[in-house]
């Protein structure tokens, strides 16, 4: 995962574009149905029949609190600070709240 840029005080999860497209193929794309793909230029291409939607690379900075509950971990809260999509893939910047 070369070239990762982490700002101070932030934890991150970074998915490379290859992995992102593989996950979209497995969990989202259906034969003859919805097709979602991240292009080499970082555009998110969404296609359903003859409808095509393109989303340019984006950076959303908006705090969003997500509450997680898992049997072994117990409940905890993650604050999602930033969501970035581009040619490199998807990056979530977050912090754990205790």
């Amino acid at each position: 995962m070369s070239g990762s840029t982490s700002s101070a005080g932030t934890s991150k999860i970074e998915l490379d574009s290859k992995l992102l497209n593989s996950l979209l193929s497995i969990f989202v794309n259906k034969p003859g149905g919805l097709q979602v793909h991240l292009s080499e230029q970082g555009n998110l291409q969404v296609q359903q029949g003859d409808l095509q939607v393109g989303v340019d690379p984006f950076l959303i900075s908006q705090a969003l609190k997500v509450h997680l509950r898992n049997g072994s971990l117990g409940p905890f809260t993650v604050q999602l600070n930033q969501l970035q999509m581009g040619s490199q893939g998807l990056t979530l910047s977050l912090q754990l709240l205790t």
Binding site: M1, S4, G9, K18, L19, S22, L23, F27
Partner: protein, 168 residues
């Protein structure tokens, strides 16, 4: 047989990592791990573990001169060379307990001793190959499995690169 789908990176900032380590009497500060443990004679000691990455392992060096006793302070450091024989089985026992509770093979972690410059150090090595073999034996989640490709620490972060495999 598994097909490799790609990689994802997890970067844990010092503050978040300390939140996760708090329950284990451990902390991450200045790129090093600090671990508190109790020796059989009742002396509580704090060890500093300095991590460094190699292509197939993560090695923690525990400098003897950085070992601090709860009550004896620097005295523990002076004694640490001789105490390593006492500290090592305690670390070994604690590691084995963690590994066994998760059914991770014991050869995933090995202990040793070396000299780094003028400083004697204890060595704890996490071997990625047996760890990844164990990860591959775990049940797939949504048809996916992960393996640890690399791990390293910077001054205020722990970074992991994980590979994602599709179980076929």
């Amino acid at each position: 047989m598994s097909k490799r789908l790609g990689q994802f990176g997890v970067t844990l900032h010092e503050r978040d990592l300390n939140g996760l380590l708090a329950a284990h009497e451990a902390a991450f500060k200045g790129g090093c791990f600090q671990l508190r443990t109790k020796l059989p004679m009742g002396l509580g000691v704090t060890l500093v573990a300095v991590p460094r990455s190699t292509p197939d392992s993560l090695v923690f060096s525990i400098p003897f001169d950085q070992i601090r006793g709860d009550k004896t302070g620097g005295m523990a450091a002076m004694l640490a060379g001789g105490l390593w024989g006492v500290i090592r089985p305690v670390i070994e026992k604690r590691l084995k307990k963690e590994l066994n509770s998760r059914h991770i093979p014991e050869e995933t972690v090995s202990l040793g001793q070396a000299a780094e410059g003028k400083v004697k150090v204890g060595l704890v090595t996490l071997h990625l190959k047996p760890l990844n073999a164990w990860l591959l034996r775990q049940p797939a989640v949504a048809g996916l499995k992960i393996q640890l490709d690399a791990v390293w620490a910077t001054e205020d972060q722990l970074q992991l690169v994980l590979g994602v495999l599709q179980d076929r």
